[in-house]
């Protein structure tokens, strides 16, 4: 377990190299090696979605991806959503709709919702609910989250 | 003017079944002393040294007394001893 591996990736548009142990998950690497603590650990086995990030535009649970698997891939995290000082429309709508209470699940929801809107810019409520079913929120009952995503789609 | 003190059901063994007692007292502590004079043993159950026993709250006219035994009673009041609780 001692030998470490150099991994070359692009994270939020920045070419990034990191050194990780083969057993470390991408979530661990993001949080503990790179200091990107926006992705959260809620369960560490792919059930809660709090660690969700995009890998080459595809939604993944970063706790179920090994750090070494990120080699040559493009990773997007919540830290990269706002561009040039401007919040992403989803971030803005989450705030306007009070779609977060404690906020721990919010980064994961934002990434899941982004993945949805990137491939389906005009989803129905049912599609939003289906797509977000991999993200657990214990505070809101999802109502305001679903509304925020629908509103972000409408205003895009 | 005496207060209307409701004896908790589990302590009515000491009051021979009596549910409500009229006693005087300028504080909750004084009321309990007066109760104990009539029904020995009540103070030992309701208090722990100079405080209400942890887990017991005194409600004065429906409002939980924030000062415990030192809660002042200005007018004739209705007093209950109830389980204390706060919530999640």
């Amino acid at each position: 377990m001692k030998s470490r591996v150099i991994v070359s990736t692009t994270i939020n548009g920045e070419p990034t190299e990191f050194l990780c142990e083969p057993r470390q998950s991408l979530l661990e690497v993001l949080r503990d090696v790179l200091g990107l603590t926006g992705a959260k650990e809620g369960c560490n086995n792919g059930n809660c979605g709090a660690c969700n990030v995009l890998m080459d535009g595809v939604l993944v649970n970063s706790c179920l991806v090994l750090g070494v698997e990120a080699e040559s891939h493009r990773i997007e995290t919540v830290e990269g959503l706002a561009v040039n000082g401007k919040l992403h429309p989803l971030q803005q709508k989450f705030l306007e709709h009070a779609a977060l209470q404690c906020g721990i699940c919010t980064p994961g929801f934002l990434l899941s919702a982004k993945a949805l809107l990137d491939h389906n810019p005009d989803p129905s409520e049912a599609e939003v609910r289906h797509w977000l079913a991999g993200n657990l929120c214990r505070c809101t009952g999802y109502d305001k989250i679903v509304r925020a995503v629908l509103d972000a789609a409408d205003s895009a | 003017m005496p207060h209307d003190v409701w004896i908790p059901p589990v302590h009515r063994d000491l009051t021979h079944g009596v549910e409500r007692v009229a006693v005087d007292g300028s504080t909750i502590g004084a009321v309990i002393e007066a109760l104990d004079a009539q029904f020995p043993g009540l103070a030992a159950r309701l208090t722990d040294g100079d405080r209400l026993r942890p887990g017991i709250a005194a409600a004065v006219n429906g409002v939980v007394a924030s000062r415990g035994l030192r809660q002042k009673l200005t007018d004739a009041s209705e007093i209950h001893f109830v389980p204390a609780m706060a919530g999640g």
Partner: protein, 749 residues
């Protein structure tokens, strides 16, 4: 229902901490990183009940990278001190035993020892190397079984407490509570219809998405610094001081952002252990985070219960008597919420003849912790189902029946005290008049259920301070953990009081070193009590600013008026901002309060379901939550409380439960198998905010966070009955249980 008397209160501004939380920048418990930080891990019991014969930590200690190992021997001996830690009454010896098992393990997952190492992986490996020899003992998981004469005894010294009266023999019954008024026999004799039923509810977890996390540093000067995710930093300070037997002033607690709590993040679990490890590891900071499995094994949950309810009513629908027996499983140590359950049970109804007996019973499950309106959901599930059955037998509309029997100001609670001004009637009327209640519900296996709920709420101690900046903004420093938008609701109350814009208030949450004493964010108390402290701050600031304005104009202060943030005297006027820019002596104030006028809350929920008779799955078609909220400071976050509480109640009702094997081992300690509701399981949750101002608060605030979890399970059970003709008496009403009940009903007895 909107009020024009306020400028800020009732509006929906963005929350002050919002940007940090949508950009991933907000620092939660597990995000804390200190120089030289070590990582701790806990070893947990594989048995439900066993004596610890020996613990050998030598192999763990020898592993390279391991810096410290601790067991209960490192904890100072604490006597049988029963202390009131704000949120709950605890016996310190039990609490210490729960942190690290002393001589026995009392549940699967009970913490035994802990390791600090250079990284979490080494710590985990080392924890596995600790050798514990056990003498396995018989276990008991069920409350009623634990009350039986031959039940295994968990705590040999435990005696039953009855509001201060102590029992004399060994028992698992920690507490017996009785409420009794009137003449039960006469009440039932006067009834035309009597319904008596038995109910069971499963152990469920609060389910916050953020696992517990803490960093502790025990300094060489014996100052203990703690950074953690908690509902109350002062509560952590008090518990640390008691458990480690150090003065509270030596413990400095800095709260991080919190990823949900729901009552489950008031008790400490990791903090004292991390502190002990820190001291032993040469005073290096130690970080401990739980895995999800550990959260389910070792924290929370709330009690499973057995409840028997009997109620009687006359033909015209007047309740004449009500009786109940409630057995709540406390987990391994005393402290179930049965006391609150006893109060919630018949809380909505005017009753002259009533008796409730509650029992707090220890069993070999994790020590229960508060969970949103603790004990209330269990109680309402039972009582509201019996009420529903009465209304059916009497042929009276469920809401009409409740309106007929509803408590009003001056009516007595089951435990005696009279109720203040409450809004239950208005809440019932709003539910009755809502389009949902009268909407057609065509289709097979569909049904509509309704249920009511009561919650006490709490006031408690709060402190806050504020200072006026030269640009006219105001820094608000508060000590209430912001779990769901309370920075906003507090800043709004200060802005309203000062008559300045919401955006000019800059709130921040600080720890024990930065503000006066605060109870935790629990009991639906923060917007009420800390809101009151903030209101006092506003009045004090205005007083000081008037003084400054008087000095500025060189006039008597009595001649200076202040309205809507403008100071005036005889034709001269200055805005708050202008005056702030000219202060010669700065203005800063603080306030501490302990208000008692918290008013209880009432909720009525309406739910439509469709039951799949093949699988037993219950689908929710429509949900409406109606609630007296006093005054909604920030309506969007109030709606969020109603929606979130309803959703948790739905999970409790339909899916969630702790599942054990025959050896007392928890077998579903993951979020795949402990199934909480997802976005796909729920519809939109409509809310109706009824505003009956609480006379016990300057802005009419009532706690809103807890009561929404009280009615859902009952409303769903009543809806399932309407859909299928089968009354479910056991939670969760999971597909397996519903299909079994449907099958049983289909087979003639």
């Amino acid at each position: 229902m909107t009020s024009s008397q306020y400028k800020v209160i009732g509006s929906r501004p963005l929350r002050p901490d919002g940007v940090d939380k949508v950009t991933g920048r907000a620092v939660y418990g597990a995000d804390v990183k200190l120089p030289g930080m070590l990582h701790g891990k806990i070893l947990r019991s594989p048995h439900a009940h066993a004596r610890i014969v020996s613990i050998d930590v030598s192999a763990a200690q020898a592993l390279p990278g391991v810096r410290a190992v601790v067991t209960a021997r490192e904890l100072p001996s604490v006597g049988d001190t029963v202390t009131d830690l704000g949120e709950s009454v605890v016996n310190l010896r039990y609490m210490s035993n729960n942190i690290l098992a002393h001589d026995k393990v009392l549940y699967h997952g009970h913490a035994i020892a802990a390791v600090a190492a250079d990284n979490p992986h080494i710590a985990e490996e080392a924890a596995r190397l600790i050798k514990v020899t056990y003498e396995v003992l018989p276990h008991v998981l069920d409350g009623r079984a634990a009350m039986a004469a031959n039940a295994p005894i968990l705590l040999p010294d435990l005696r039953t407490n009855e509001l201060g009266k102590q029992g004399s023999s060994q028992t698992n019954v920690a507490e017996h509570i009785r409420h009794q008024r009137g003449d039960l026999a006469a009440g039932f004799a006067a009834a035309d219809v009597i319904v008596e039923r038995e109910f069971h509810t499963a152990t469920v977890h609060q389910g916050y998405v953020e696992p517990h996390a803490a960093v502790a540093l025990w300094n060489e000067d014996d100052q203990i610094l703690v950074w953690c995710s908690t509902q109350g930093s002062f509560g952590v300070q008090e518990q640390m001081a008691e458990l480690l037997q150090v003065p509270p002033s030596r413990v400095v607690v800095t709260p991080t952002e919190i990823g949900g709590g729901f009552g489950g993040k008031n008790s400490v679990y990791l903090e004292p252990v991390a502190a002990l490890l820190s001291r032993k590891a040469g005073h290096r900071p130690v970080k401990m985070t739980m895995t999800r499995a550990e959260v389910l094994f070792g924290t929370g949950p709330t009690s499973g219960s057995y409840i028997r309810v009997k109620m009687g009513a006359t033909r015209d629908g007047t309740l004449t008597a009500a009786e109940a027996e409630m057995i709540y499983e406390a987990g391994a140590f005393p402290g179930s919420p049965v006391g609150a359950g006893c109060g919630v049970l018949f809380g909505p109804y005017k009753l002259e003849n009533v008796q409730v007996d509650g029992y707090d019973v220890v069993v070999n499950r994790p020590k229960s912790a508060a969970y949103r309106a603790p004990g209330g959901t269990n109680a309402a599930f039972a009582a509201e189902a019996v009420v529903d059955e009465l209304t059916e037998k009497l042929g009276i509309d469920p809401i009409a029946f409740r309106l007929h029997n509803a408590v009003r100001e001056g009516d007595r609670r089951a435990d005696g005290p009279e109720l203040p001004r409450i809004g239950f009637i208005e809440t019932l009327e709003a539910a009755r008049d809502h389009a949902h209640y009268s909407a057609p519900l065509p289709g097979k296996q569909r049904g509509r259920g309704v249920a009511a709920g009561f919650w006490f709420n709490w006031g408690g101690k709060s402190s806050a301070s504020a200072s006026v900046n030269a640009d006219g903004t105001v820094n608000l420093v508060e000590g209430s953990t912001d779990i769901g938008g309370s920075r906003a609701s507090l800043a709004m109350q200060l802005a309203e009081t000062l008559g300045i814009p919401y955006a000019d208030i800059r709130p921040q949450v600080v720890g024990t070193a930065g503000v006066g004493y605060n109870e935790g964010t629990y009991g639906s108390r923060t917007t009420f009590s800390t809101g009151w402290a903030v209101y006092e701050l506003g009045k004090k600031i205005l007083d000081e600013m008037r003084q400054r304005a008087a000095t500025h104009w060189d006039v008597p202060v009595d001649g200076v008026t202040v309205q809507d943030g403008t100071f005036a005297h005889n034709g001269d006027s200055m805005s708050f901002r202008e005056l702030a820019g000219q202060l010669e002596v700065p203005v800063s104030v603080s306030a501490s309060v302990f208000p008692s006028g918290f008013g209880p809350s009432f909720a009525v929920h309406i739910v439509d379901v469709e039951v799949d008779v093949e699988t037993g799955k219950v689908e929710i078609l429509r949900y409406t939550a109606v609630q007296d909220v006093g005054k909604a400071i920030h309506p969007a976050y109030v709606e969020g409380q109603l929606q979130g509480g309803a959703a948790q109640g739905v999970g409790w009702a339909l899916n969630e439960e702790y599942v054990y094997d025959d050896k007392g081992r928890l077998v579903n300690a993951s979020l795949l198998d402990y199934r909480m509701p997802t976005a796909l399981d729920l519809p939109m949750i409509d809310t109706v905010l009824v505003e009956v101002a609480n006379p016990g608060h300057p802005y009419g605030v009532r706690g809103v966070g807890e009561v929404p979890i009280v009615p859902p399970a009952a409303a769903l059970a009543n809806a399932i009955y309407q859909a299928t003709g089968v009354r479910m008496t056991e939670l969760p009403m999971s597909p397996a249980r519903v299909s079994a009940a449907l099958l049983a009903a289909a087979v003639p007895a």
